[in-house]
């Protein structure tokens, strides 16, 4: 780094010659950038294998392919057994072991080991005319014991039943209404439309509506939110970030007030803030930048049942699907893959085709109820430094006056 500019090189040639070559190439690039500042290397700290907060019991590499494939076949059978309307099942198994060394010119030298597993199940239900999909993809920062602990019966039954239930769903109404977004993957809206706006990479470029808003009110007073990279065995956790800084629990929003951004070293220098242990990258091929780990709205006081019974008319978005977000403004649209209509405080019917439309900074101020049961859900987040595993999450929240796109007036 020179004059707040980043120079980055990578290689998979781990010979001494190959490594000296890439180091010299980076140095030449800095020289072309006319940096006039030279620093001496700081003495090394003692070598540090960081304390592993996510110990594994069973290394995935020690488990046979036959054993792993048996899990896929079992999931397929269980999905199909749940209903004769299931016409297609896809099951995806992934395990990963990543050894990391981070060293820097200030004397830091740290090693980390990250072991993760994920199991995705998608079932398609068909009634001969239409098709609907159910999908779940749990994951954890664990060894093979994660796969052994999965309740495959429940997972596959849930996936299949969701797909079948949506076959008979009516089309969603459209217009502004009260929306209850359920816990777990419902947090994807907060992640995409709010979390990304708090990343120092966007703040440094003033490419986010959240720039310059530290200590200002950005959400309803019932909203507090964190990004926590330390949660034991959680999918988005790491012991250290990809600049070697210990991850931590960062309070982002405290009762509606913006308290922190997500800061990496480079962008922190640009905006005068210290790293929050939030620097991440997909692999050595990517320069690291500020990213989320496990980002979620903290639990409040209300039960989901109470929220529903207190809602005269609205949408209960039980499961969210994909969507798109303008990273500068936080404008978003997200599909609801499993939704229900609420009338007079009761769930009356399943609906499909609903799309939630809004802006991150607006939706934060329109939250009037926060549930008391936090759930996390696993995903892969794609951005400038590649795809990284993250948890999204929240308790159920109620949002007033949210625009719902649908096919019925």
């Amino acid at each position: 780094m020179a004059n707040n500019k980043e120079y980055y090189g990578y290689t998979n040639d781990l010979s001494d010659t190959g490594l000296q070559k890439i180091a010299r190439e980076v140095s030449d690039a800095v020289a072309r950038g006319k940096s006039d500042k030279k620093v001496a290397l700081a003495p090394n700290e003692s070598a540090d294998e960081v304390l592993n907060e996510h110990p594994t019991k069973n290394q995935p590499g020690d488990v046979s392919w036959d054993h792993k494939i048996a899990l896929l076949k079992k999931a397929d059978l269980l999905c199909r057994a749940a209903s004769d309307k299931i016409s297609q099942v896809n099951v995806d198994y992934t395990d990963e072991v990543q050894h990391v060394l981070v060293a820097n010119s200030e004397g830091l030298y740290k090693k980390d080991k990250r072991t993760r597993g994920r199991f995705s199940v998608a079932a398609v239900a068909s009634d001969g005319q239409e098709k609907q999909v159910g999908y779940e993809a749990p994951g954890a920062h664990k060894g093979f014991e994660f796969f052994e602990s999965l309740d495959l019966d429940r997972l596959c039954k849930d996936v299949s039943e969701t797909a079948v239930r949506m076959l008979t769903a009516d089309y969603a109404p459209q217009g502004r209404m009260t929306v209850i977004i359920d816990s777990g993957f419902g947090g994807v809206i907060f992640h995409e439309a709010c979390g990304h706006l708090l990343e120092a990479s966007s703040v440094a470029k003033e490419a986010t509506v959240m720039a310059g808003k530290l200590n200002q009110i950005i959400a309803a007073s019932c909203v507090s939110a964190v990004d926590d990279g330390t949660l034991t065995h959680e999918w988005g956790s790491t012991n250290i970030d990809d600049e070697g800084i210990l991850t931590r629990r960062n309070l982002l929003i405290d009762n509606g007030v913006l308290k922190s951004y997500l800061v990496d070293r480079l962008n922190g220098d640009r905006i005068g803030l210290k790293s929050t242990g939030s620097s991440r990258r997909q692999s050595y091929r990517f320069s690291p930048t500020s990213r989320m780990n496990n980002t979620f709205i903290l639990p409040g006081q209300d039960s989901l049942a109470q929220m529903i019974s207190d809602t005269e008319y609205g949408l209960y978005a039980k499961k969210m699907g994909g969507g798109s977000v303008n990273p500068a403004t936080g404008e978003f649209n997200f599909s609801v893959t499993e939704g229900y209509l609420i009338k007079n405080g009761k769930i009356v019917s399943p609906i499909r085709g609903a799309v939630l439309i809004g802006r991150g900074d607006e939706i934060l101020k329109k939250i009037d109820r926060v549930g008391n049961e936090l759930k996390l859900a696993q995903g892969m987040c794609g951005a400038a430094s590649g795809w990284v595993p993250v948890n999204v999450g929240q308790p159920a929240i109620r949002v007033q006056d949210l625009l719902v796109g649908g096919q019925k007036k």
């Binding site: 020179a2 140095s27 800095v30 896929l72 896809n90 099951v91």
Partner: protein, 49 residues
């Protein structure tokens, strides 16, 4: 993985013509994937980085 001495050597090389700060990230990753689709195992792979 590299020793501290080797890491320092490469960081020193990267900074020899200027700059304020440098870091080195070394990674060894093994990823196993398997996909079942329509009752058939469609893909079994091991990727090493």
């Amino acid at each position: 993985m590299f020793s501290q001495e080797k890491s320092s050597q490469y960081l020193g090389l990267a900074l020899q013509k200027g700059g304020e700060w440098a870091d080195l990230f070394v990674e060894e990753t093994t990823k196993n994937k398997a996909l079942l689709s329509d009752k058939v195992i469609k893909n079994v792979s091991q990727q090493q980085l």
